[in-house]
Symmetry: C3
Subunit: 148 residues, 3 copies
């Protein structure tokens, strides 16, 4: 996969990182954490370049998969993922910035590289006005998983 998965992100509120309901797995919104800290802050098209935003999106996806792996019982259980179904990506955007899809490709391309065909997904690429801790990206996943 080219990365070592970090530990499951610690929630910053009264919620769970991951839940499975009838074979559909939902993650909470993930931030671009490195070592438990938000590593990329500020709006793309302003303080942050598209390249920095793209890396933030990739970091969010890595944290989402780390949470997913932790929930399933470890990296070896990731083969229970039958499909990444949907990615919802919110990109903190400076006024006039309108290339959220390119930024979110940082997550989408990493997921496709890691999971192959089953990593290809539907998605919403949205511009955000404000995000927790001024993170550059917040991203949540829905996946289909098989029973363990």
């Amino acid at each position: 996969m080219g990365v070592t998965l970090p530990p499951c992100p610690v929630p910053i509120g009264a919620y769970l990182p991951v839940l499975v309901a009838d074979g559909l797995l939902f993650t909470s919104g993930m931030l671009p954490l490195v070592d438990g800290q938000v590593a990329v802050t500020g709006a793309v098209g302003g303080e942050r370049t598209v390249e920095e935003g793209t890396e933030a999106a990739r970091l969010c996806a890595i944290n989402a998969v780390a949470a997913l792996a932790a929930h399933l019982g470890g990296v070896a259980e990731l083969d229970r993922v039958a499909r990444i179904v949907q990615v919802q990506g919110h990109i903190l955007s400076a006024p006039g910035f309108e290339d959220q899809p390119q930024v979110l490709n940082g997550a989408s391309e990493w997921l496709a590289a890691v999971f192959g065909e089953i990593g290809r997904h539907t998605r919403l690429a949205l511009g955000a006005y404000a995000l927790p801790k001024n993170a550059t990206v917040e991203l949540a996943l829905i996946a289909r998983v098989q029973p363990g």
Copy 2:
């Protein structure tokens, strides 16, 4: 539960408050209604304090559960809720406000108090630039429910 549930919110457009599809229940976006009126308006970090935003989030959750109960056939049917799966919370935010998670805890902690362990959920806490009727929070739920 500490509150009397209000009646199911009346839609302000061409949609339904709640639907169930294959055991997953989806609510529409709920506003912080009291007596059918939006009770908390304006952006957190600007016109509204974090405490006022937190109360708005709690009111949204109360309206969501009211809609859910009405759909299932009454408060007594709430024991068919097997899990609150996901909360999507959009917090109207003033420039620079970045503590959406604390605001959304108003909903998350109320859901956990009402439903116990099955009330614990995944969530997205997002900052909004504009919301219907200038409401401080809009919130939607996904829940897993058992057949009646």
Copy 3:
């Protein structure tokens, strides 16, 4: 239906237009495309009127149903749609604009006209600060579909 469905929108990133997981169909975020180009840009309440926004929402819904039809194998397969479950509509909004529900009715009323009772859905009407290609609306659908 009163419209000829366009071809399935071509993704503008590393994603799929539509996926089905266990009977739930998810579309990606759809833009108000006409002939493959974003036909309505700019914020409602600013550059765009409510009427123009409403038409943009309708165009997004048309593109979503076009994608759905293409995925299922053609317009004739649309009778496999058992329910439009949820619409998530993000309306590019000028400062102070708060009538996103009226704008999103452009999508909701068209879906109800096309699908009848099964076209009635839950929804989130949200104000957006920035959207891809400066589109006036981005909209995604969840539908329940029956096996082919």
